[in-house]
């Protein structure tokens, strides 16, 4: 009797073992921490002697994997708000054509993610590489940025220049002296644990 039960027990043990292994794998995936935000900030400004233009977007969605360094941003063009309603209208209708192309985004990777210690408060310089899509045009870019860790949560700050021309955004010569050929873009995302 006992002898015939033994192999069954062994099988059961094996099953439990497999289950535990699977659970460990699952927990490991869970432990691969992803930080997200639904309301990050992206702003840009254009300075010319004729006119200054500022725009701010408070609804940036972003996800960021602290282990692999993968990072993505998605924005809606219509969420960019300007001081003047007329600028906002021109931005949407004439330049970004937001009815046709309502989104822009970036998907890429932080190269030196291992240099960031998420358990220690501090400021870490990083570089990110990836693909930026604006106005339906995708371009490979590389930008330097800063990750500020505070209380285990990261904040990502990136500042870079962007030329509308490169993304096939036409600015008529009539207003060329009011809109800079190169915009200063700032990204500021404070993440939460997913």
């Amino acid at each position: 009797m006992i002898a015939c039960c033994k192999p069954v027990n062994k099988l059961r043990m094996k099953k439990i073992y497999v289950f535990l292994m699977a659970l460990c794998c699952f927990l490991h995936v869970k432990a691969q921490q992803v930080f997200t935000t639904r309301h990050g900030q992206i702003s840009f400004f254009s300075r010319t002697p004729m006119e200054n233009i500022d725009a701010l977007n408070n609804e940036v969605a972003s996800a960021f994997n602290m282990q692999t360094g993968e990072i993505g941003f998605a924005v809606l063009i219509k969420s960019f708000h300007f001081e003047r309603a007329l600028m906002e209208e021109h931005f949407n209708e004439n330049y970004m054509e937001s009815d046709k192309m309502p989104k822009a985004g970036f998907k890429g990777k932080i190269n030196n993610i291992t240099s960031v210690d998420f358990t220690k408060d501090g400021s870490y310089n990083v570089t990110a590489e990836g693909e930026m899509t604006i106005h339906g045009v995708a371009k490979k870019i590389a930008v330097p940025g800063t990750i500020i860790v505070k209380g285990g949560l990261p904040q990502v700050i990136v500042k870079f220049k962007l030329a509308p021309k490169e993304y096939n955004i036409q600015i008529p010569s009539l207003v060329a002296d009011k809109i800079a050929g190169s915009m200063n873009v700032s990204v500021d995302c404070r993440y939460e644990k997913k």
Binding site: R38, H39, G40, Q41, L56, N58, E59, A61, A74, L76, I77, K78, S79, H81, R84, A85, L86, E88, N92, S98, D99, P102, K103, D188, R190
Partner: protein, 137 residues
């Protein structure tokens, strides 16, 4: 006779220039759109989220950039980085409706049924509405 015509022409052209200048000035300073005064499309948060899940391009044609009034249940409250209140309304099982309010604090709590008026900016993982006001709590 000739003098009179010349004078009239000068007065008329000055009026035209003044009119044009006033028009340009008013265009330049025109106020932002407000969901409070625009005619709105009325639907529930569930209907709006479902419309975007099913056919994003089609939903954009109907709602993108338009004033929309949604009714729904507040499932999450937070603040954005400008310290303005953001409400998440329960949509479908997959996606929700995110409303960024103009106000700093909405005076609503989790689980409340609300009616929100705002402008639809499009769809990320949720439907995004901004410049929102609470029409009814």
């Amino acid at each position: 006779m000739r003098k009179k015509t010349v004078r009239l022409a000068i007065v008329l052209s000055l009026l035209c220039i003044a009119g044009g200048a006033i028009f340009v000035y008013r265009m330049y300073n025109k106020p932002h759109r407000s969901a409070a005064t625009e005619t709105v499309v009325v639907l529930t948060a569930g209907q709006l989220a479902a419309a975007y899940e099913l056919d994003e391009a089609g939903a954009n044609k109907k709602y993108l950039g338009n004033a929309v009034q949604v009714s729904g249940t507040v499932s999450e409250l937070s603040f954005n980085q400008q310290n303005k209140q953001v409400l998440i309304l329960t949509g479908t099982g997959m996606s929700a409706v995110q409303c960024s309010l103009l106000e700093d604090k909405a005076g609503v709590k989790k689980g409340d049924s609300v009616i929100i008026k705002g402008f639809c900016s499009g769809f990320l993982t949720d439907v995004i509405m901004d410049r929102c006001i609470v029409a009814k709590q």
